[in-house]
């Protein structure tokens, strides 16, 4: 992989929906390989829409998205994306192992290669002993770990996560944050992460992209210079609070003060 080439290159992207709503306007953003970029903003700022455009699940009205130097559509056909939603969206009729194996089956991996990889992924997300369980037998946090394992199973260049921990309680969420950083470090993938929690964005990311609503646009980018690897202690460092404040002020400057306060309240 060419390290100088961006993993994601977004140029002049806008999106108008049929009802005449402008969800996004004039988005320019580059994501470097191995970066962890969070998109943060209040509801209606188009952050999930932008994520779906990057993943070629919807098309932009204007502008282009390139992933590893090729158009998003080509990248999707090349299996460059792993996607995780707010809900795990597991296939109920498949066991944990078989959920993780599904993308590999579609990629026509052989049985042995597949089961070796599944075992590796089960170890990575620490679900040993639950391989033959069905999704309903797992807690919300465990289900989300299966979803992450499934998204990473085929080694996609880019992991797209749409509020993956939004439905979890705060304690589970903080534990999942640490796990995600460990997985990010181990897997070497690039992550684009949508959230409306300011502390979560600061804790996880190398850069936080602050977005503002109506129409959705980039209001500012905050470089997170907290040392790696991040630990439970990171949340107690003065620099962490300074960055949280900086993101909050950017959100406020973007005209999102009220909504951001709500998001903060919801996250604490």
């Amino acid at each position: 992989m060419n390290a100088s080439r961006p993993a994601v290159s977004i140029t002049g992207v806008s999106k108008q929906f049929k009802a005449g709503v402008t969800a996004l306007t004039g988005i320019d953003l580059d994501v470097r390989p191995r970066e962890f970029v969070s998109l943060i903003g209040p509801s209606g700022c188009g952050k999930s829409t932008l994520l779906r455009i990057i993943g070629d699940l919807i098309e932009p009205s204007e502008g282009t998205v390139e992933v590893n130097g090729k158009p998003a559509h080509r990248a999707r056909l090349d299996h460059d994306y792993g996607i995780v939603f707010q809900e795990a969206v597991l296939y109920d009729w498949r066991t944990v192992s078989k959920n993780i194996a599904l993308p590999l089956e579609l990629l026509k991996w052989g049985r042995e290669k597949r089961s070796a990889r599944v075992k590796e992924m089960v170890d990575l997300v620490e679900l040993e002993g639950f391989e033959d369980h069905h999704p309903w037998q797992l807690s919300g946090g465990m289900q989300q770990r299966v979803a992450i394992a499934r998204a990473l199973s085929f080694d996609p260049a880019l992991l797209l996560m749409d509020e993956p921990f939004g439905a979890l309680d705060e304690m589970t969420r903080e534990r999942m944050n640490l796990e995600l950083l460990r997985i990010w470090d181990a897997s070497g993938s690039t992550i684009v992460f949508v959230t409306h929690s300011i502390p979560e964005a600061v804790f996880l990311s190398t850069r936080v992209v602050v977005m503002s609503p109506r129409p959705g646009r980039v209001a500012g980018i905050v470089e997170v210079d907290l040392p790696q690897p991040r630990t439970g202690r990171t949340r107690e460092e003065p620099r962490f609070f300074e960055l949280v404040t900086e993101v909050r002020e950017r959100l406020a400057a973007g005209g999102a003060d009220v909504v951001a306060a709500e998001a903060e309240a919801g996250a604490s």
């Binding site: 969206v89 296939y91 009729w93 069905h134 999704p135 309903w136």
Partner: protein, 264 residues
């Protein structure tokens, strides 16, 4: 099954069993106490004795009619599933035809039974299969189509992100996700197929058929035989339904809405 499981089963089914036994006893007692005429309602003991005395004839008649029901069920449900797949694959077809399917499901299709007898012949078992098949077709079509089309859109988006084509999405997601819905339709169809076969026979059929046996017995005031026939028809209906329910349990044990089956 462990002894604890047996005990739990007993606690679960105990009340229903008690109601059943008490109901039979009350039936027996009330018929005896008020000297109810046999043509109105025979005693359970009389029905049971008749059932035993006539077991050979009743069993043959029951099997004959059950085969009609089974044939109609297979034909109607099979077609229902095929058409549902077709409508799900080509949405415009579904949009054009589904309002009629829903309307057809609301009319008393059994009213067509005499016509089917005219079309296919009174003594031809296919005339009863046909009416059972039409009865089964609509509920299976409607429930299966709902299952195929009401899949979580994000489950489809995920498949798209794996670059899966429509065929693969069908095979890997839509069809398995539709199974719980489809079985709801099949359970309704199992009941309707027995109704279709027996009512079809009421409009005429060979004397070896259960419906004709019940009809003739009541026409010639042989009420215990008529009631014994009804009991047998009920038994076949319940067994058929239970068989479909068992198949459902075996194939959809993963369904979160059925998790109460997993307690053991």
């Amino acid at each position: 099954m462990s002894s604890a499981a047996v005990q739990r089963r007993a606690v679960e089914w105990g009340p229903a069993l008690a109601v059943f036994v008490l109901g039979i006893l009350a039936w027996q007692g009330l018929v005896a106490a008020f000297h109810v005429q046999e043509f109105l309602l025979p005693k359970p003991t009389v029905i049971a004795r008749t059932f035993w005395d006539e077991r050979g004839m009743l069993w043959d008649a029951g099997i004959y009619t059950f085969k009609e029901a089974l044939g109609g069920f297979a034909l109607g449900s099979g077609l229902g599933i095929l058409v549902a797949l077709l409508f799900a694959a080509y949405a415009p077809l579904g949009t054009a035809f589904m309002p009629f399917a829903v309307a057809a499901n609301a009319i008393p299709i059994i009213a067509f039974a005499p016509i089917m007898n005219d079309w296919f012949g009174l003594l031809n078992p296919f005339s009863k299969m046909a009416i059972a098949a039409v009865l089964c077709f609509f509920p299976v079509l409607i429930t299966t189509l709902r299952g195929l089309t009401s899949v979580d859109p994000r489950a489809i988006e995920l498949m798209r992100s794996y670059a899966a084509n429509r065929r693969t999405v069908f095979r890997r997601v839509r069809i398995p996700a539709s199974l719980p819905h489809m079985f709801a339709g099949l359970k309704i169809a199992s009941v309707l197929s027995m109704i279709g076969a027996i009512v079809g026979e009421y409009f005429g059929g060979p004397t070896t058929a259960l419906g004709v046996t019940i009809l003739n017995a009541s026409a010639y005031t042989n009420f215990p035989v008529a009631w014994a026939g009804i009991v047998l028809a009920s038994a076949f209906g319940i067994l058929f339904y239970s068989a479909v329910a068992l198949a459902e349990r075996l194939t959809t044990s993963w369904d979160p809405s059925r998790r109460d089956f997993h307690r053991e």
